[in-house]
Structure formats: C-alpha cells, structure tokens
Symmetry: C2
C-alpha cells in the first residue's frame, strides 16, 4: 500500500472568493496581520501498489481531482503504508 | 512577510462522505487500486512578521480555520516571502 498526498491549489491570478472570505473573517476577529489567504484542497489517497502509479495519479488529477484550467496540483507518494 | 501553510484534516474515525464520493468516482473511472480517499483543506496565509506568530496561528486554527472537535491541523511557517 502507498499513501498519495495531493495538493490542489488555484493558479496565480485566479480569484479566490473563499480565501477572501476567510481573510475577512480573520481580520474581523483581530488578526490584522493576515494579508492574504488562499484556500486549496488536500487529499490523501490510500492505493494498492501499482507499477505505473505516477502516471495514474497525474491522470486522476487531470480528470477528476483538479480542474487543470484554473488549478495546479502537486503530489507525493509515500511507501509502505500499513492498514 | 511569512507564508503559513495550514493543513486541516478530519480526525481518524470521523466519517468522510466527500472522500467516499471521490473514491467512488475514481473507482468508477477504472482506478480500482484506490482503496480510500480522505479530503482535507489546505490554506496558505501570507502574514506580516509577528513575534508571536505560532501562538496566533494556533488561535486562528482553533477559532476559525479548523473545527477542533472533528479536525486536526498542522502548520508550517516559511520565512521571507516577498510580494
């Protein structure tokens, strides 16, 4: 088993209304030093060992996990997860 | 300026219907080797330098960014972000 950690973030220049809302809330709560917030997704996938895992992850990200038009993704693969 | 990266994940044992849905979709698309998916949040905060930043981040996470009843959070602080 492997643990795949995927980060999906909005590309630079893409508006992030959710991040703006979080920033506004933090500022309202008194955390004035917060200048910008960007919100992304973080996914942990537990997968069976597969010889072609890197290629498969890229496919899954492009097809389902991320929207490649407005989002970037990065991933790491960790070996030897026991369940 | 500092860049704070926050990961918010559901605690173990807490049901993750969003993750289940993603896993189901991936399986339907033919990615049968995906056994489990857990979905979390990933936030990037750009903050002004503050002597007490670690304490402030913990406060922000407990008050707004995470729900400490069902979610865990981790964070890292990176120095010297230029804008």
């Amino acid at each position: 088993m492997k643990l795949v950690k995927v980060h999906v973030t909005l590309k630079e220049g893409v508006l992030d209304p959710q991040g703006k809302a979080v920033q506004g809330s933090l500022n309202t709560l008194g955390y004035d030093f917060v200048q910008e917030v960007r919100v992304g997704k973080y996914l942990e996938l537990t997968v069976e060992d597969d010889a072609n895992i890197e290629q498969q992850i890229k496919e899954m990200c492009n097809k389902l996990l991320a929207n490649p038009v407005i989002e970037n993704y990065t991933y790491t693969v960790e070996e030897g997860v026991t369940q």
